[in-house]
Amino acid sequence: MSADMNLKIKVWRQKNNKASGSFETYPVVANEHMSFLEMLDVLNEGLVNQKKEPIAFEHDCREGICGTCSMVINGQPHGPSSGTTTCQLHMRHFKDGDIIVVEPYRASAFPVLKDLAVDRSAFDRIIQAGGYISVNAGQAPDGNAIPIEKGRAGQSFEAAACIGCGACVAACPNGSAMLFTSAKIAHLGHLPQGEVESNKRAQAMVAQMDKEGFGMCSNIGACEAECPKEIKLENIAFMNRSYLKAVFSGEEV
């Protein structure tokens, strides 16, 4: 077995949405095989054993796919490894004696609920605005009725890989949700099935995104750099194109 690592975790504690928060520092003994969340589990178990309130953080699948885990580690959403969610980040990327600063996502549209947990329901509302194809169960033609060029299907898939974790917003100095929104617009827009509604979709989703209070993109690229699913900035360009096309050629919505 590998040697223990003695770490200090400096973590944001905030009772609830109304309270103001502050940092607290806790010692924890970890080892390199643990995931970052397992390290927090150990820390929490210790807190509970001392009858203290554990650190609230969100997580579920712990496989990097559900998009629930959300925190900023030493200034980076999901921590130092690229293309990795917090739950898949392992402690071997840290070393004995490190002080690790853990903060919640920061963006006005993602208010802090408690400690490291934030409210990302704005994302749901963006999808509700138009991130779908209007087809009822039972209406569909045969799956092979419309062939789709492999490359196009691939582009669509790559955008569809977004897990809705919100790290893009957390990373963006402008608190912009353009990467997330564009990933959905591109996922559906690249497919013939999705093209039908693309004008309406682009306008409605962008309007909702703006309404939620996300910032505007200055093409900084921090979102792409921190996205655990490596969603590309090309999607934002695709969204801009779709939106401009929709505004100048589509119906008013």
Binding site: M34, D41, I65, D119, R120, V135, G143
Partner: protein, 664 residues
């Protein structure tokens, strides 16, 4: 109580079609007045809520997640089956039906499984129309691959993220209904109680997880799509928040829990690395298409590996035991999950395991890389390559097929699986058991339906790969929209159910009392520690191999653990805030009861079938022995603290012949 499965009459292949066209339906103007609660937003729940919304019912949908998109279905990797026969390899609805029945070791209902196979075809169409980016061929048509335990290529997939893509599709449909106002979505709401009025399911008590407030929600019918209970083992491939609470509370209100001991243990998971471990990660079954499973022949070698003195790559070919190929020459590394898992356990128990804990076997791709490398070299007309160059070519092919899985493996273990064989070990993955339902997916409580992994229906004693996604979506998109009508057609004159009926008040009070009780124990042990101990008991006594003495002992241990829980658990914080520890405490309380029932069921079923292996019931050469004359029934349990009551639903097979599964 006699269990009426309500299987329609007629020939197997015509049952569903005929039934669909004759069953009672609700007129559109009445649908609006009827309210339906759907609990869960996984494939089954999201599909159900959106299609019921599309039909015009007033739907209220609940999930404890912060968004419907986070449901555990998101994690499914491998694919979804459908009898499309696009591969032209002789697949058909009947063959899918047959494979599923056989794969389930003849412990599922014929009629349900056949309907599932019929619906499978529509699912793919529906998903494509929703924008699910399935893998495609160069010609632009859908691509298929083969998946464990079957001989045709019928699995549709989207890289290693099929579940994610299907769930996003369902989530999008659901989002559309939410926007249209037909579905009212309650995120971060956990169902903690079922409310029955006059014997019918009429609502739920849900806790708002942000404020702790208990809410009474009434409706004409309640649909559960709350997933499986694999987390009773603590360590499993399930997401951390998967639990049995919704199903269990319903069982406590009179629903029956069927075949709870049928759990699937998946052979290819990343082994446990330490005590702190919180969950196990699945490596998709598709890896066994190309990987060879082995352990060192010599115990000394295994020990040296365990101590870190030797590496797998350094063991000579003749000192390797490819035990699946040795024991099952016909299917080799592609034997069904239960068989592969047990074989690995046997080797590790004999001391041939290869991780520090001794609980792991190798999954080796070096042969595949060499083989693919050669084909690739031929294709490109390259000659005179060194072995290393060939392997490098092969690596590219393997990476194109499994790249994301290899990456995931490396992230977790820190080892490079292209250079060293993977280490894998079986882990709990899926629960075939669940709430008992009839052909309409209605439980024995009128108005209460159960879909997806939450019910027991289609997989018998073992589920084939890529068929859970199929079942969840079939249930949600294509079954419940029809079958719920059989209940609701009689409710059109029932006025809106009021949530201030005494039954609701009562149920809310009881829930509040339970929460207060847990908070006030103020003991010394964390919820997590109890959960971990429960998991160990389950794994030890109700895991891959079970026997009478162990099950009796295990049951007793769980009862003691449960008593200790109510004496000594410590739940920090209060009810009226966001309190994940309290949420967990409520879930673990239910798992502590459900675990006991699993032991009871396993003890009762003195046969080996599918994922349930009783050491007492084996053939002479140690293979599982089913006892069709004694146990060809569904064991549906009515819960009570002292002695759960067994109700049997006999399984009648009119269309398939019961055979011993043989993979030799």
């Amino acid at each position: 109580m006699s269990l009426n499965s309500k299987i329609p009459s007629g020939a197997l292949a015509e049952k569903w079609t005929k039934y669909k066209s004759t069953m009672p339906i609700v007129a559109p103007n009445n649908k609006r007045k009827l309210e339906v609660i759907v609990v869960g937003t996984g494939l089954a729940g999201a599909a159900a809520a959106s299609s019921l919304g599309e039909l015009g019912y007033s739907v209220k949908c609940f999930t404890f997640h912060d968004s419907p998109r986070r449901a555990h279905s998101i994690a499914a990797q491998g694919g979804i089956n459908a009898a499309k026969n696009y591969a032209n390899d002789g697949d058909s609805v009947y063959r899918l039906f047959y494979d599923t029945i056989k794969g389930g070791d003849y412990r599922a209902r014929e009629a349900n499984v056949h309907r599932l196979a019929e619906c499978s075809v529509d699912i793919i169409d529906q998903c494509v129309a929703q924008g699910v980016p399935f893998a495609r061929e160069y010609g632009g048509l859908l691509e298929n691959r083969s998946f464990g335990g079957v001989q045709v290529s019928r699995t549709f997939y989207a890289r290693g993220q099929t579940g994610q893509q299907l769930l996003i599709g369902a989530y999008q449909s659901l989002s559309r209904q939410i926007a249209l106002g037909t579905v009212q979505m309650y995120n971060r709401h956990e169902m903690l109680e079922l409310v029955k009025v006059d014997g019918k399911a009429r609502g739920i008590i849900a806790r708002n997880l942000l404020t702790g407030e208990l809410e009474r929600h009434a409706a004409h019918a309640v649909v559960l799509a709350t997933g499986g209970y694999g987390n009773v083992f603590y360590l499993s491939t399930n997401a951390m928040m998967c639990n049995v609470t919704a199903a269990w509370k319903s069982v406590k209100k009179g629903a029956l829990m069927a075949n709870p001991c049928f759990t699937q243990i998946h052979p290819t998971c990343i082994p446990v690395s330490g005590e702190y471990q919180s969950k196990l990660t699945l490596m998709s079954e598709s890896l066994r298409n190309d990987g060879r499973v082995w352990v060192p022949k010599k115990k000394e070698d295994a020990q040296a590996i365990q101590q870190g003195k030797l590496k797998g790559v350094n063991i000579k070919e003749e000192d390797r035991d490819y035990f699946l190929e040795r024991r099952y020459p016909a299917f080799g590394n592609l034997v069904p999950r239960d068989v592969a898992s047990r074989a690995s356990k046997v080797e590790c128990d004999k001391g041939h395991g290869v991780s520090p804990t001794g609980l792991a076997v190798f999954l080796d791709f070096s042969d595949a890389m060499y083989r693919y490398g050669k084909t690739e070299a031929n294709k490109k007309g390259m000659t005179g390559l060194s072995d290393a160059q060939i392997v490098a070519l092969g690596e590219e092919v393997v990476s194109a097929k499994y790249g994301n899985l290899f990456e995931m493996y490396e992230k977790i273990t820190g080892e490079n699986p292209y250079k060293e064989p993977m280490k894998i070990y079986p882990a709990v993955h899926y629960t075939m058991g669940g709430v008992w339902v009839d052909y309409n997916l209605e439980t024995n409580v009128p108005g209460l339906f159960a879909l997806g992994e939450c019910n027991f229906s289609d997989h018998g004693a073992n589920r084939l790969g890529a068929s859970a996604l199929m079942q969840g979506l079939a249930d949600g998109y294509f079954v419940i929209p029809y079958t719920i009508g059989t209940f609701l057609a009689n409710e059109i004159s029932t006025p809106k159910i009021k949530n201030d009926l005494p039954e609701f008040i009562e149920a809310e009070k009881a829930t509040k009392a339970l929460i207060d009780k847990l908070l006030n124990i103020k003991g010394n042990q964390s919820v997590e520690s109890f959960h971990r101990r429960l998991g160990k008991i389950m794994w030890e006594y109700c895991g891959m191999a079970r026997n009478e003495a162990g099950l009796v002992k295990g049951r007793q241990m769980i009862r003691e653990l449960r008593a200790e829980y109510y004496r000594d658990v410590f739940v920090p914080g209060s009810n009226d805030e966001y309190n994940p520890e309290l949420e967990k405490a409520i879930r673990v309380a239910d798992l502590l009861e459900h675990g006991e029932l699993m032991m009871v069921d396993a003890l009762n079923r003195n046969e080996s079938c599918g994922g349930h292996f009783r050491e007492e019931s084996v053939t002479d050469d140690g293979e599982a022995m089913r006892k069709d004359d004694e146990f060809a029934y569904v064991a549906a349990w009515e819960w009570n603290e002292t002695e759960p009551i067994l109700h049997k639903e006999p399984l009648v097979f009119e269309n398939v012949e019961l055979k011993t599964r043989s993979y030799k």
